[in-house]
Assembly symmetry: C2
Homo-oligomer: 253 residues x 2
Amino acid sequence: MSAARAAHPQGDPDRAGLPDAVLRPVRGHHAFEACVEQLATAIRLGVYPRGTTLPPERELAARLQVSRATLREAMAALRQAGLVATTRGRGGGTVVTLEPRTPSARRAARTDPATRRDRLDALEFRRVVEPGAAALAAGVPLDDAARAQLEEAHDAVRSATRPADHRQADSRFHLTVATLTGSPRMVEAVTSVQATLHEMLLAIPVLPTNIAHSDRQHAAVVRAILAGKADHARRALEEHCDDTAALLRGLVG
Amino acid sequence: MSAARAAHPQGDPDRAGLPDAVLRPVRGHHAFEACVEQLATAIRLGVYPRGTTLPPERELAARLQVSRATLREAMAALRQAGLVATTRGRGGGTVVTLEPRTPSARRAARTDPATRRDRLDALEFRRVVEPGAAALAAGVPLDDAARAQLEEAHDAVRSATRPADHRQADSRFHLTVATLTGSPRMVEAVTSVQATLHEMLLAIPVLPTNIAHSDRQHAAVVRAILAGKADHARRALEEHCDDTAALLRGLVG
DNA sequence: GTCCAATGGTCTGAGTCCAGACCATTGACC
DNA sequence: GGTCAATGGTCTGGACTCAGACCATTGGAC
């Protein structure tokens, strides 16, 4: 065994960077917190828009793979935070009450270095995964339901009048594109990225010019995906990411 | 509140797909299992090659953000599985003893549908993230240490003689590329993909032709990254992914 | 040879999470 | 109007995890 030993500080020093990068914190220990986080994100991003009813507790618990007790703690937290309201009895359930937040510049508060790094990382990672998702979606045979879903998500963005609704519809649009790929990893990656992006976008005011610009890019993405032009789709979404990132990097820096 | 209610089965039926895709199981309940999983993966992929010593328990526990007690349970499992051996006292520690597995065709066993789906998903996702990582790495200013790290990882693949070593060196090479981007999300994505890929690649025999082909593609990737040619790097790695995937899809199907 | 720093090994009490059974309320359906 | 299925609310015993202090072993520094 002694011959096999290569102590870790000195042994293969050039490879020392890999372990640091690869080992990451194992899940946030509090299952309950993770549930709150995930549900709150889904609600804020508009996956469950205001007024819709969440699935029954038993179903949600099964989907998140936590006990119902834990899920209920999370629900209680969401209730307390004013995101949802609950009614009992048949036909009851938990309804989303959160009024979507309106983007505004007021919140350009000081962000700590860790948050800052994470946000820049999200922008970088997004530039890879979202265009990739679009290309993938364009390369997959889409049934009519999928095509309709994409167009509706797009229409929702265009027709949103209030900034808050526009913000949610935009998130939903990007998530929808990811969904079309049929790849769970892709959906997870885009969800994570959109959650961080959402925070950032709430901190800058909405300019009609930006919205129009962004809508044109969305349209190009939709066209390319529906036409099956993978390269076009990727390029269009890359531009979109670049422009959004340019808008946000100032804020983050 | 009644006006706000839109019951979840019927309300906005077109959007029904989003929640299903977005909500994912909150991480594995057993922190201990997650530790085993992550450490075993790191060891199998060659992040910690045979003979190297893992970081001290206290440090690992801090990095994985679990208590030392939990980490030790994981270590005990790895020890029992023969992946590592532990010695006490100063200069002691936990040493990797796992002899890397040799790829072989014997293991092309029946895979259940869930595994099959996950593997196909990994191939699809990989085709997006790894080329994206290469492009990103090419666009980032790399210091000398980083350039040397990349070249060494590449050399290790080329100079590996035994199939088992080649397999690990290949994983390390791809992880190294991801590391160069400096993006934690990217590293996590590539790690996850490589873990699944590794399983698959162990189940097919190693053909010298394939290795030579793959090495040429690796070389092209390295050249492009070092030259800062993002598009070339992406394209080269895309080809590599496509070729590997073609090799594997037969196995998975 | 002695000291002691670094490392793995052990213990304890408190907090969290789980599985599942059971209760309470409500409205859909007949 | 009565029934009952669907939904949220509650409880319990046991398993897992945590934080941190303390013990045991080893080899390097002097």
